[in-house]
Symmetry: C2
Subunit: 141 residues, 2 copies
DNA sequence: CTCATTTGTATCAACAAATGTTACAAAAAG
DNA sequence: CTTTTTGTAACATTTGTTGATACAAATGAG
């Protein structure tokens, strides 16, 4: 289990929370729908909390709810919150600095990386959490 | 898991080949510039060969050269060739089918995944290998 | 033809990242 | 005080990426 599915899980979790109408939802209940362990969900919620997308309470009748309306949360926010890194990675080891290509390739790739990240972010920001819920509840617009 | 840098390495390798003016280049020589093992390079070249981006020859004075001109190779071709997978992964385990969200989330995410892959591909296809070489040799246009 | 060179690929080890699991302190409600 | 629930640490498991060794097959040079 190595491919990073945190973004997918985060969208799933936030959709669940959005449908609970502001009531606290327990990590155990969410874990059941996502089909994973409650701690995995709590770890994810911890990141969403840091990004101020959700609010949690400890204690009896505690749980988690959205920090703001689903129309004010877009998928770029979620992508950023889970910090999945870049679309492609730069070289693990630095290339040879004696070779003209090795010396300059990193700058070119780094620039490209930012460019790709931007278009991904732009595209994701076109979709709000409310749009996702709409599709799940009423089919494809 | 180590972060996947095959795309970065592939661009590096193809840039090297493009600058060799059609002469065969040895995996050992390329490995030296990329700062890795020759077998890693040969594995990569094997994928680029399957994608018909390069041509290789075994034997003495063998090696690899580009299959076509750098202006006719764009970075989307390279990205496809190395098959690095998607920008984000779907759930590892299938979500609960008893939950309305769990039941329908996969379709929404899958659709989104294709949409993101398309914008990434479109953006990458704006850059030819010749553009990369231009930047490496003569700075940023 | 024979030999040196180089690719292509199998195999295995080393390592890193994501996920699963257990455990327990801290917080909050009743 | 007791119960419930989050937050987080710690560790095992799994899997993908990279590195390294080995060797058959191909091919050019002499």
């Amino acid at each position: 289990m190595a491919a990073n599915s945190q973004f997918s899980m985060a969208v799933h979790v936030l959709t669940m929370l959005a449908r609970s109408c502001g009531r606290n939802m327990k990590s155990d209940y969410i874990a059941c729908s996502v089909n994973t362990n409650a701690v995995v969900i709590r770890r994810l919620l911890s990141q969403l909390n840091k990004a101020k997308l959700v609010v949690s309470q400890t204690g009896a009748s505690g749980g988690t709810r959205l920090a703001r309306s689903p129309v004010d949360i877009n998928l770029a926010d979620v992508y950023k919150a889970v910090e999945c890194g870049e679309v492609f990675a730069l070289h693990a080891k630095s290339p040879s600095q004696d070779c003209p290509v090795g010396k300059n390739i990193a700058a070119v790739l780094c620039h490209l990386q930012r460019e790709i990240d931007k278009v991904v972010g732009d595209q994701l920001s076109q979709h709000s959490l409310a749009d996702v819920i709409e599709k799940i509840e009423h089919g494809w617009a």
